[in-house]
């Protein structure tokens, strides 16, 4: 074993109390970071999952209609205008198949789906409920919003006059699978459809209002033969959605909205959470580093005579430096393993303890490999950094003074 490793490990083993104290400091620090990160990451992932469980990452729609002037100004004539917002009507995207083809080749985009989204009224006996008709092409739509996993009754089937609706809507209308309801669109087109399945995505607005049907059926309900009102996209990295939306907006001139713009409040909440997580991690790291550094400095003072001997008998200063850096690094690595295991264990215990009566966790924790690898690297770096001052101090000791205890 190289000299510096041998001496470092022997010193750690010999001063068991001090080593245990430093190891405990690193382990506790790492476990706090792992536990906290697992909890916050889990919370954020589940929030984003539930948000994106019912909405596409990016939506393209026809730009809003702008008001048109009824009287144009002329030279020498002043005109006072009253500007009113133009009434909006459901319109189809121009040349949508070619727009779709172009979008499919955009870097970062993983799925593209044409849809129709419009308002309607659902009627069953005396109950009349305003609904949102979502006309979809099942193959591509399910790549973006996989409603199949949220089906609680029946199946996802939107062929031949069959629809799937939100479970809250079904309850409002007092209907179940295989029951029939009447839908009347804003274009005054009426049809009777059969309920093939009920879904619960967990977002009240969706569960209360969505009626998902086929694209062709929606085209006939809204009198848009061959047309679509929206193109919906899924992207590889959800946090890239804003950037990709900007690119598409520049290229198509259409109204392009990303989930990030529509959920700005959620994102600012997540970002505040991440900032507090970073702050807590920072203070934990600083206190662990100070703990290691102060104990190692005490160790250098205690061992200064031995360091003097090492230097006197011919050990170069750089090896003395390495002895203390290795001690810091070894403590960092060992502490990170123990701390990661403890943190993961606490996180899983917390998840189990806070589960509801049916055993479904209220808080999801997310302990993954990148978190553990990241924390291990961080702890090792902290151990090494904390050891720098004691190590430099040891290497700079004057051997003659150290031996005589000056």
């Amino acid at each position: 074993m190289p000299f510096q490793w041998f001496v470092a490990i022997r010193y750690l083993r010999d001063a068991r109390g001090q080593s245990a104290l430093m190891l405990a400091a690193v382990s506790v620090g790492v476990s706090v970071i792992v536990f906290l990160s697992a909890l916050i990451n889990g919370l954020q992932t589940s929030l984003i999952d539930s948000t994106l469980g019912s909405q596409p990452h990016i939506t393209l729609r026809v730009p809003r209609e702008e008001p048109r002037a009824l009287v144009e100004s002329r030279d020498g004539v002043a005109i006072a205008r009253l500007r009113q917002p133009a009434a909006q009507r459901l319109r189809s995207l121009d040349q949508w198949p070619s727009v779709m083809r172009a979008l499919a080749g955009t870097p970062g985009v993983t799925a593209v789906s044409p849809t129709i989204s419009g308002s309607a009224t659902a009627t069953r006996a005396e109950a009349r409920v305003p609904v949102v008709i979502r006309g979809v092409n099942p193959e591509s739509f399910l790549d973006i919003i996989d409603l199949r996993r949220d089906i609680v009754q029946g199946t996802f089937d939107v062929t031949s006059g069959r629809v799937v609706i939100g479970s809250s809507l079904a309850s409002e209308l007092g209907v179940g699978v295989d029951d029939r309801i009447r839908v009347t669109s804003t274009e005054d087109v009426e049809d009777v459809v059969t309920i093939a399945g009920l879904f619960t995505v967990g977002t009240d607005a969706v569960d209360k209002s969505w009626v998902v049907t086929s694209l062709t059926h929606a085209q006939s309900l809204f009198a848009l033969p061959g047309g679509v009102t929206n193109i919906e996209l899924k992207v590889r990295d959800v946090f890239e959605a804003d950037r990709i939306a900007d690119v598409i907006r520049g290229r198509t001139g259409l109204t392009v909205e990303s989930w990030m713009t529509l959920n700005a409040e959620l994102l600012s909440g997540l970002s505040a959470q991440s900032s507090s997580k970073t702050m807590i991690q920072f203070f934990v790291v600083v206190s662990v580093a100070l703990g290691i550094a102060s104990i190692l400095i005490v160790s250098v003072v205690q061992k200064s005579r031995e360091i003097g001997i090492l230097r006197a008998v011919g050990t170069p200063a750089r090896r003395v430096l390495a002895i203390f850096l290795i001690q810091g690094g070894v403590l960092g690595v060992a502490g990170s393993f123990i701390g990661s295991a403890l943190g993961a264990l606490f996180a899983k215990l917390f998840e189990a303890m806070t589960a509801d009566a049916s055993g479904v966790p209220r808080f999801f924790v997310q302990v993954d490999l990148p978190l553990l690898i990241g924390t291990t690297l961080l702890a090792t770096a902290v151990g090494l950094t904390a050891a720098v001052i004691p190590a430099r101090r040891a290497a700079a000791l004057d051997p003659a003074a150290a031996i005589h205890g000056d």
Binding site: P2, F3, Y11, R13, I309, A312
Partner: protein, 235 residues
């Protein structure tokens, strides 16, 4: 006459920034191969300071130290460390072993610390040295588990393991009972005779000084007498 092993020329050593204290005043001294010399003087006379300067552990404020005729004043810390490792052995009053290490590991230190990686040869040489000092059966004992006399013998084995031309001993018997002190002295004497290793021994003990071949006395930082005592070993 042959080139001295160590030449100290006009060495002055001052301490302190504001108030300067002169520990050594214009010291000239030569040590030759195979010499067995005592350095005596009252406490605070500059004995340890001179030993540290000869041992390349400290630098003179003025003057030069030559090892085998080569001036060491221009050498950096790394070069001095290497020269120290290969040319000098040290024995200290309080044994100064590494207590968490075994006797054999302590003896290996000078070679291991210098080279970085241990070899079987290093270990064999260290065990051989321990056998030489009569501690073969204590090779695997931790330093802290050895008696004072045994620790000092381990320290002598460590100083001798690279067969350096000069061993500097700072009060090597100062902390030992008479019997152990005699054993340690005889051990150093034996190495001096067998391998012609020079010894410079700082001592307060007139009994030890009287058995050395040369006695150098230092008072107030000056060498006040330098007396050869041929045949002293027989006394």
């Amino acid at each position: 006459m042959t080139e001295p092993l160590i030449s100290v020329r006009g060495v002055v050593r001052d301490y302190g920034q504001q108030v300067r204290t002169r520990a050594l005043r214009n010291v000239d001294l030569d040590l030759h191969r195979g010499e067995f010399a005592a350095l005596i003087g009252p406490s605070g006379s500059g004995k340890s300071t001179l030993l540290n300067i000869i041992g390349l552990l400290d630098r003179p404020t003025e003057g030069r130290v030559l090892v085998d005729g080569a001036d060491t004043s221009g050498l950096d810390d790394r070069a001095l460390t290497t020269l120290r490792a290969r040319s000098l052995g040290f024995v200290f009053q309080f044994h100064h072993l590494l207590h968490a290490f075994t006797a054999v590991e302590n003896v290996m230190l000078p070679e291991w610390g210098d080279a970085g990686a241990p070899t079987r040869d290093m270990r064999d040489r260290a065990l051989e040295m321990l056998t030489d000092v009569g501690l073969a059966d204590r090779a695997q004992y931790k330093a802290r588990d050895l008696s004072g006399g045994q620790q000092q013998r381990v320290a002598i084995a460590r100083a001798m393991v690279r067969r350096p031309p000069l061993v500097l001993a700072d009060e090597p018997t100062g902390n030992l009972d008479t019997g152990s002190a005699d054993d340690v002295f005889e051990l150093m004497r034996r190495f001096n005779r067998e391998s012609r290793t020079s010894f410079l021994i700082v001592t307060h003990d007139p009994r030890i000084a009287s058995r050395c071949d040369r006695v150098i006395e230092i008072v107030d930082g000056r060498v006040t007498s330098d007396t050869p005592r041929p045949g002293a070993a027989a006394t």
